[in-house]
């Protein structure tokens, strides 16, 4: 199935898109979405562990399953300097 993924912050700059379509299988997890995304944009490999992914406006664990119609958002990691 194809899902629409909204991009936040510098991910829009790197991809040149505000939204993209990713091909995944029904039942794949959030981790799989991140994997597919990073394979398309290898520049983001170092972000892989830290990309914030929300499903239907809720941040979930990487093992959460994606279902048809879910809204996914990818945003850069929360920053920690003071």
């Amino acid at each position: 199935m194809k899902i629409k993924v909204k991009l936040i912050g510098r991910y829009k700059d790197i991809t040149g898109k505000t939204e993209l379509e990713l091909k995944i299988n029904n039942g794949d997890t959030i981790w799989h979405v991140v994997d597919v995304f990073v394979k398309q944009y290898p520049k983001l490999e170092k972000d892989k562990k830290f990309i914030m992914v929300s499903k239907n406006n809720t941040y979930t664990t990487p093992d959460a399953k994606i279902e048809n119609g879910d809204e996914i958002t990818l945003s850069p990691p929360v920053v920690s300097g003071g």
């Binding site: 510098r10 809720t58 941040y59 945003s75 920690s80």
Partner: protein, 242 residues
């Protein structure tokens, strides 16, 4: 408090005289007196918060000066919290400013925040932020998370039982490693947004969710996120940092 100094702020419809009066009765605790904390304490003093505690155990160092707006070269080597208390008190003598030279720990955080109407994040590490998050959720004290990195800042107002907490979004937060790049004017910008969210919380107004602002590329994102139903902190009451 003498409201003459706020005459142009009182006519802001989102605040009004009633809002100004409410702010003058509030107690804010700012944890950290560096780039974010010093700028936040400066803003909140000028805006007319009733009392402010600034908790920090560091000394002012030369590399701090480029990203703060209160410290100067004469302050190098002196405690940040003490300098802030002295200088901010001169800005508005009616605001009760207290510099507390302490490192926040799980042993002392209860006493540090016990009278706080809100806690502001001026820390530079996730460990302390999770500690603040735990005490916030446990004792139902709102707090504002804020962080800066390079040209990007993130801010999120956390109102226990009403909004997601830091743990709701924390599964993928990177820990600080080494020196982080920070553009000099970023902390002031992010502190300003942090203080706006704090004022909204103190006045019981609607928060803006998770805010991400890249001041170099002028990206501003606002996400209205939901509470994580599996959050260990705000849903299951596990306070692992306390």
């Amino acid at each position: 408090m003498n409201f003459e100094r706020f005459q142009r702020q009182i006519i802001v419809k989102e605040l009004g005289r009633k809002g100004q009066e409410l702010l003058s009765k509030k107690h804010v605790v700012i944890i950290g007196g560096g780039g974010l904390g010093s700028n936040s304490s400066n803003i909140l003093t000028r805006i007319g918060i009733g009392s402010i505690d600034i908790v920090d155990d560091d000394l002012v160092e030369l590399p701090n000066l480029y990203r703060t707006s209160i410290f100067n070269e004469e302050d190098v080597g002196r405690p940040k919290c003490q300098i802030l208390e002295e200088k901010l008190q001169k800005i508005n003598s009616e605001v009760k400013i207290r510099g507390i030279k302490k490192r926040v720990t799980k042993e002392n955080i209860h006493s540090i925040v016990k009278n706080a109407d809100i806690i502001l994040d001026g820390t530079d590490n996730m460990q302390t932020r999770f500690l603040i998050n735990d005490i916030s959720v446990k004792n139902n004290i709102p707090w504002i998370y804020a962080g800066v990195y390079s040209t990007v800042g993130m801010i999120m107002g956390i109102h226990p039982k009403h909004t997601p907490c830091l743990k709701c979004i924390s599964q993928s937060i990177p820990e600080k490693t080494g020196e982080l790049p920070i553009l000099g004017n970023l902390p002031l910008t992010i502190a300003s947004i942090e203080c706006t969210e704090a004022i909204k919380l103190l006045l019981d107004k609607q928060l803006s969710g998770l805010i991400i602002y890249d001041i170099w590329n002028q990206y501003f994102e606002q996400m209205n996120i939901k509470r994580n139903p599996r959050c260990s902190c705000c849903q299951r009451g596990i306070f692992e940092f306390l």
